[in-house]
């Protein structure tokens, strides 16, 4: 009965679909872009109609710079540059770019597709993933146009999954959108992810150029170096704002991806892609033409995640008690897909802008124009100090806080630096809460071991008199450690939809539910408001999103993002806010960014780390990175600070870090201020004096003209040349001493 009903329903839908599609076939016409109409187009399983449409590219629309052309049979499109009349960018791989005939049909389809989906049977528990490509035979594709672009409605026949890709021409390039409402799952399959424009901008292995990845500070994969890579490692995936899979949240080797962007430079042209909506569920996929790659093309694209999966515990009951010692697991998909509009802007760069500097300039403009960056206009180079106040020692039967720096010590040390001429300081106090640094969830009350409320009040008054010293109390409202307690595994920490707490391998670390984190944050803000000279410094919130999939308190990454943003707004409304990280969604609230990376995660496909992060942010918000006292090469780190726009950074204590020998946190190996003060002043004063001309400006270009030399060009015409080599180097008319840097004015504005 049910089957008959389904057949009738499908038949009706087919008729409706056919009648609508026949109206749309042939020459494209302008149609209403309202998605209600799109939905009606998609409400059938689709009938192949490839023969009915021409296999040539037809012009869809154009603006002053570009013309958008489309091949309606497979939905492939290309962009013609009007000035040169050359095809600048193509969504499908052409025969000129790559000998497609060498490939299998599956790869041919993939290379022609505007979208490729990964899907799975809705009853699957074994992770049997399937893939479908929009250009494959049998799929239904219809193209409708509107004034500035077109909609490509795709029905993947075997998966019975439909979606619409809307492509609009803009002054900079393209704006591509997948409306959430357009996604329909009509069969027995679940959509997991969509690879959007997987071969857009793909480059041959012989081409000049690179792919820019926003991993850490930013890194480049040069096409010329791909041949020397490991022969099997042909791809890398970058989850924007931390691991999207809950099971990966505690894995080692996490990559820090703060921006939902990537770029491809091919010859004298470049493509820059930026997710402007739906960034919380975005993965960046980079594929390289290494020796054993199935297709020798270098490419990058976004993989848009549409469904959560989770591990389910197949207990002994399921395994028939055959192996009671082995725990068996399966994978299940959530029934609901993630309903989120996805919008991506592709900018085409050429000439002097066709490089990663141009991409950084483009992204900075985007952030500023959309009010996404808190442009604090840094006027002077600050000294960034992090004071490690203390941590608890575990004596088995009891725990005791050991203070490495008291609040009074902070006041004295800050006064000493102030007296030595350091006016601008960005200070973060770590481990100040009741039980020190490692005990989480933190109890937001000044520890008596560091001076308690009375000394906090004194320090607050002292800081009130020092205008350019910004001090932040570090808050961690997201982490929880098992051995201390103070939270409930059932109610307070995030869990999978399979009701397992998300934890590390040792089952000692957990993440607090965003709701619980909000409660903690609100209580913390009450305290920090009491001490109004302090700002708040937040860990995790400025860098990582995660989801809690327990039904009763379900919150996905997008909602977590909104939650974090509201917390940040609350924190920044009354006081200044510092963030450990610089996720794109958090930048508008940040007055200071600390603990930023100085490199990428150095994946084997990466060839050259670039300071892309600081090129976007320098001049807008002060930044600090790695601590000078915890490096094995301070001379090199000093140059890296300058190249990465970082303030000189140190983690200090009043007492020797040997006190922390038996503490949970024992990463400090030298931090005693008495040992470091003189050296810090020397480094800082030298940097302040020499870098004065480049304060309150932005970086417009970065290049490495020769090995070991970096040159930064600033918007005010000044340049900084940095020499990492052990020998003196020359750049133009400038001579840069070994392991040093020079500042000069290139253009008088």
């Amino acid at each position: 009965m049910h089957r008959t009903f389904q057949t009738i329903k499908k038949g009706l839908a087919l008729i409706l679909c056919f009648s609508l599609l026949t109206g749309c076939s042939g020459h494209p016409s302008v149609v209403n872009t309202d998605y209600l109409s799109t939905e009606s187009i998609l409400s059938g399983t689709g009938t192949p109609f490839i023969a009915a449409v021409p296999q040539e590219y037809e012009t869809i629309c154009e603006n002053m710079r570009y013309q958008l052309q489309c091949r309606q049979d497979i939905g492939a499109f290309r962009v013609l540059e009007k000035e040169t009349q050359a095809i600048a960018w193509n969504s499908a791989v052409t025969q000129e770019l790559y000998d497609i005939d060498r490939s299998t049909q599956t790869w041919k389809d993939y290379m022609q597709s505007v979208a490729a989906i990964t899907y799975v049977s809705n009853t699957d528990t074994r992770g049997n993933y399937l893939q479908a490509y929009s250009a494959s035979e049998g799929n239904a594709i219809s193209v409708t146009t509107f004034e500035q672009g077109m909609q490509i409605a795709i029905t993947f026949a075997e998966a019975a999954i439909s979606l619409v890709v809307e492509i609009a021409l803009t002054e900079e390039g393209l704006r591509v959108r997948i409306p959430s409402k357009s996604i329909q799952e009509q069969g027995n399959f679940y959509l997991l992810s969509v690879e959007l424009l997987p071969f857009f901008g793909a480059a041959a292995e012989t081409e000049e150029g690179y792919i820019f990845m926003p991993d850490g500070t930013g890194t480049l994969m040069h096409f010329s170096e791909v041949g020397n890579k490991h022969v099997f490692t042909d791809s890398v995936s970058l989850d924007v704002y931390g691991a999207i899979e809950q099971s990966e949240l505690f894995e080692e080797n996490q990559r820090q991806v703060f921006f939902p962007v990537y770029g491809i430079k091919r010859g004298d042209k470049a493509l820059f892609a930026n997710v402007v909506a739906g960034d919380a569920y975005t993965r960046i996929s980079i594929n390289a033409a290494v020796a054993m790659a199935p297709v020798k093309l270098n490419r990058a694209g976004f993989e848009l995640i549409y469904r959560h999966q989770y591990r389910i515990y197949l207990s002994n009951i399921v395994s028939n008690g055959k192996d009671s010692a082995t725990t068996l697991y399966g994978i299940k998909s959530e029934p609901e897909c993630i309903r989120l509009d996805r919008v991506i802007e592709y900018s085409f760069l050429d000439g002097e802008n066709a490089n990663y500097s141009g991409m950084a300039n483009q992204y900075r403009s985007y952030l500023k124009e959309n009010g996404l960056l808190n442009d604090t206009q840094t006027k002077a180079l600050p000294l960034a100090l992090r004071f490690f106040m203390g941590d608890e020692l575990d004596y088995g039967a009891f725990r005791q806080m050991v203070a490495t720096t008291t609040l009074k010590d902070v006041q004295e040390i800050v006064s000493a630096y102030h007296a030595a001429g350091v006016e601008d300081m960005e200070i973060v106090l770590q481990g100040w809460a009741k039980n020190g640094y490692s005990v989480k969830p933190q109890v937001f009350r000044p520890s008596s071991a560091i001076g308690g409320a009375s000394q906090m009040k004194n320090l607050n008054e002292f800081l009130g008199q020092t205008e350019k010293v910004h001090t932040y109390l570090e808050l961690n409202v997201t982490d929880a450690t098992a051995d201390v307690g103070g939270f409930s595994l059932g109610n307070d920490v995030i869990q999978t939809a399979g009701l397992e707490p998300v934890t590390n391998k040792q089952e000692t670390e957990f993440l607090l539910s965003p709701f619980y984190a909000t409660k903690k944050m609100n209580s913390a803000l009450k305290l920090t408001k009491k001490y109004n000279s302090f700002g708040t410094a937040m860990q995790v919130i400025g860098s990582t999103l995660y989801q809690d999939l327990v039904k009763k308190r379900r919150i996905d990454r997008q909602q977590t993002q909104l939650q974090w943003m509201s917390l940040l707004q609350a924190a920044s409304e009354t006081q200044s806010a510092a963030l450990a990280g610089c996720a794109a969604y958090s930048l508008r609230y940040a007055d200071f960014l600390y603990d930023l990376p100085l490199s990428s995660s150095q994946h084997t496909l990466a060839d050259e780390d670039i300071p892309w992060l600081s090129m976007v942010l320098y001049g807008s918000v002060p930044m600090s990175t790695e601590a000078g006292n915890l490096t094995s090469d301070i001379d090199k780190l000093k140059l890296e600070w300058i190249e990465n726009g970082s303030a000189p950074t140190y983690i200090l204590t009043k007492e020797s870090p040997t006190l922390l020998q038996d503490a949970d946190y024992n990463e400090l190996f030298t931090s005693c201020n008495d040992m470091w003060q003189e050296r810090i002043l020397e480094v800082y004063q030298d940097m302040v004096r020499r870098l004065q001309p480049i304060q309150n400006t932005t970086v417009i270009r970065h290049e490495r003209p020769m090995e070991g030399v970096a040159v930064l060009t600033y918007a005010n015409g000044y340049c900084v040349g940095i020499n990492y080599m052990d020998a003196e180097m020359s750049y133009g008319e400038q001579t840069i001493p070994a392991k040093d840097y020079v500042v000069w004015q290139e253009v008088v504005l």
């Binding site: 080797n253 515990y313 994946h603 038996d662 024992n666 990463e667 190996f669």
Partner: protein, 714 residues
């Protein structure tokens, strides 16, 4: 709360039972060293420099990638030799990957699954052509010189599948070939010169016991224990053989002299477990500084010993070993002190999948060959590790002043570097600055060295204050004697009062005095208790039990550092309580039940009062030992242990006496009941453990059911 305490106690007990002898290191993000099984963060010691993925400037039509390479060697001219296993070739290249030579055959036979290479000082190449069961000698240009098959020797008659894997060679042409648990020595004429370096397998008590009771058939089927096998070897510039093995007892890193004796630091002793037990008995239960080569790690719930695959050594005897299993590199100085640990598995630059070989060039750059990735990654030493290497080398060469200066420099960049503290401690000790030495040794967490410095400090102090010390000792002795006499008299008065019913009922205070009298007049006191049924109290016994536990806990935190028997961070209060109460009450219950079966007359209250009173020696002597430990050093740990044993024996004596007197047993009867009670106690614990396991399983099953039900509703 009680439930939590109980579960903590149980989990603590099981953890102690299951994890004895295992180290649980915490994996840090950065580079580190290990001090007494604790990770200590250090500045970067080695930094990733570059990767060689493909052969550069190779002849046309050459396979540019490695296929499951097996060995790597760096010669004196800093050329790299890669044994490219699956490609059946040997590649010689410069350190930047520029190909110099590719060898595929020798003496007309193509290489077959080669696994090891060694290049002599004169440039001659020795390749272990494993598949062809030969060692091939070639000159620096790859010209064939000679090949060596299986040497002719009756001692090798059993070796049917001769397949040389790893090889090292002296300047005189003597070859050392890896043969499982042995290193085979072969001279330049291919004459067998014997096996060296076999690890002693030691005495196994269980095996010995099984062999006594097993039949001949069973003995045949018992697995023959073999010595730990070697993984790789190398001959250093000092002519010594540096090798890695799977020897978990003595340690996985060995430096063998020409007769095969391991002259390197030993991680442990291969003495029999009985000898170890006796040694522990004589020396008392104090903590010794733990050390092992590599790390024991837990992967997916299972513990794994280090798998040190390869070894590299420099001119100064700095040894670097590679753990294939956890992809980590450990560097030790010539005395076996750990300098640095780095490396991890992963897909990033500087990370490994299956690292199989490590080599060091003359500049100190380390090269790591990865079999899975088919690449070589280079790591350059930082200024920090160079400084450490210089300091430790200076110290090992006897240049103490220079070493101290260098250690001070190390401390300027790493205040927590353990070896620097050891170095500073050693220098201070030599300069007779024992206070500083003690402080440094304490940071280094070496109780033996600390105690040595303490002994010197104590000697100096006693020399300077001899008169006052004698005076204080005399006063103390007088005070102690007076106190004992007073206690004896006072307790005797209470006993008398109790006997003559001046005290109709024991109260808490009088109960304590009765317990005290048991120390001086045990039989008399116990007989009084036996005839005083219904006049006893539990309160004094409980107080004594509590006092015993409290004094133990206080002792843990206040005993002199060298005499600590547990690391403070590992103290489990619940476990300490259980350690005292569980045996006490088990003994109480079993002796009562078994005693009653043998016609015993005692009641539970009598036994409880007597047994708790018997605990008094522990409660009294533990604080005395704690105080005494403050002036003792580890050389006197025998005395300390004897006092401890005395208190236990005294307690045991009082318990047995209590059992005898309260039940009116003969000596033979008492011994019989005591033995049966002990066995019953063990049985009781076993049943409890079984019950716990069963309950745990049932709980797990119910949890499974609930989870299934909840998942079905998701």
């Amino acid at each position: 709360m009680k439930k939590k305490l109980f579960s903590r106690a149980l989990s603590g007990l099981f953890a102690v039972l299951l994890c004895v002898g295992l180290t649980i290191p915490v994996v840090a993000d950065g580079q580190y060293t290990i001090n007494d099984a604790n990770e200590v963060a250090i500045p970067d010691s080695y930094q990733y420099a570059y990767t060689i993925n493909t052969l550069q400037e190779a002849p046309p039509r050459t396979t540019l990638t490695f296929n499951q390479p097996t060995d790597l060697f760096v010669d004196t001219a800093d050329n790299l030799y890669v044994v490219d296993g699956k490609n059946n070739r040997l590649v010689k290249m410069e350190t930047d990957g520029t190909t110099l030579m590719i060898l595929r055959e020798a003496n007309g036979t193509r290489f077959s699954g080669p696994q090891g290479v060694f290049v002599a000082q004169n440039g001659d190449i020795y390749l272990a052509d494993t598949g062809n069961a030969r060692i091939v000698q070639m000159d620096a240009d790859g010209t064939f010189i000679r090949e060596y098959g299986k040497p002719e020797s009756p001692k090798l008659a059993d070796v049917t599948d001769y397949a040389p894997t790893k090889i090292a060679c002296t300047d005189a042409g003597v070859m050392y070939v890896l043969m499982g648990e042995n290193i085979m020595c072969v001279d330049a004429q291919n004459n067998f010169r014997g096996f060296i370096g076999q690890t002693e397998i030691g005495f196994d008590f269980v095996e010995w016991l099984l062999r006594i009771v097993a039949s001949d058939e069973q003995k045949k089927s018992m697995i023959k224990r073999t010595a730990a096998s070697y993984n790789n070897l190398l001959i250093g510039s000092d002519g010594l053989i540096y090798a890695t093995s799977r020897d978990e007892t003595e340690g996985q890193v060995k430096v063998l002299n020409s007769v095969g004796n391991n002259i390197y630091r030993k991680a442990g002793s291969n003495a029999s477990s009985f000898d170890k037990f006796v040694s522990k008995l004589l020396n008392g239960n104090v903590i010794n500084k733990s050390f092992q080569f590599g790390e024991t790690v837990k992967i997916d719930g299972k513990w794994y010993q280090p798998m040190l695959e390869d070894i590299a050594v420099d001119e100064q005897g700095i040894v670097t070993v590679l753990d294939r299993q956890i992809c980590r590199i450990y560097q030790y100085d010539s005395s076996g002190n750990l300098l640095a640990v780095f490396g991890k598995s992963g897909t990033n630059q500087g990370e490994f999948s299956i690292p199989v070989s490590i080599a060091m060039d003359s500049k100190g750059t380390l090269y790591v060959l990865d079999s899975s990735y088919g690449n070589i990654q280079a790591f350059k030493p930082t200024a920090f590790i160079r400084l450490v290497q210089q300091a430790t080398t200076a110290y090992n060469n006897g240049e103490y002043e220079k070493a101290d200066e260098l250690w001070q420099q190390v401390l300027a960049v790493d205040e927590t570097y353990p070896l620097a503290h050891l170095g500073v401690g050693n220098t201070a000790y030599k300069a007779e600055d024992y206070g500083t030495a003690m402080e440094s040794y304490r940071f280094y967490n070496d109780r033996t060295l600390y105690s040595k410095a303490f002994a010197e400090q104590r000697y100096l102090f006693s020399k300077e204050n001899f008169f006052y010390i004698v005076l204080a000792a005399f006063a103390l002795a007088t005070g102690v004697i007076a106190a004992i006499i007073w206690l004896a008299r006072r307790s005797a008065r209470v006993l008398k009062a109790f006997e003559y019913r001046d005290l109709p009922h024991l109260r808490c205070g009088s109960g304590l005095w009765m317990a005290c009298s048991m120390l001086f007049h045990p039989v008399h006191t116990l007989e009084s208790l036996r005839v005083s049924r219904g006049r006893l109290t539990y309160s004094s016994g409980l107080i004594i039990l509590l006092a015993t536990i409290v004094t133990r806990v206080i002792s843990i935190y206040t005993v002199h550092y060298p005499f600590q028997d547990i690391e403070l961070s590992e103290v489990n209060l619940a476990l300490e309580v259980v350690k005292y109460l569980l045996p006490f009450f088990s003994w109480l219950i079993t002796t009562y039940l078994i005693g009653s079966q043998f016609g015993g007359e005692s009641t539970v209250s009598e036994l409880f009062t007597a047994y708790s009173s018997a605990m008094l020696p522990l409660a009294v002597i533990t604080p005395i030992m704690t105080l005494l430990s403050q002036i003792l050093c580890t050389q006197e740990k025998g005395l300390y242990a004897v006092i401890g044993y005395f208190s236990v024996l005294w307690m045991g004596y009082l318990m047995i006496r209590s059992l005898q007197v309260l039940n009116n047993f003969s000596v033979g009867h008492t011994i019989l009941v005591a033995v049966i009670s002990l066995l019953a106690t063990v049985l009781l614990w076993f049943i409890a453990l079984l019950g716990y396991t069963l309950i745990f399983r049932i709980v797990q099953f119910v949890q499974d059911l609930i989870q299934e039900a909840m998942l079905a509703s998701v």
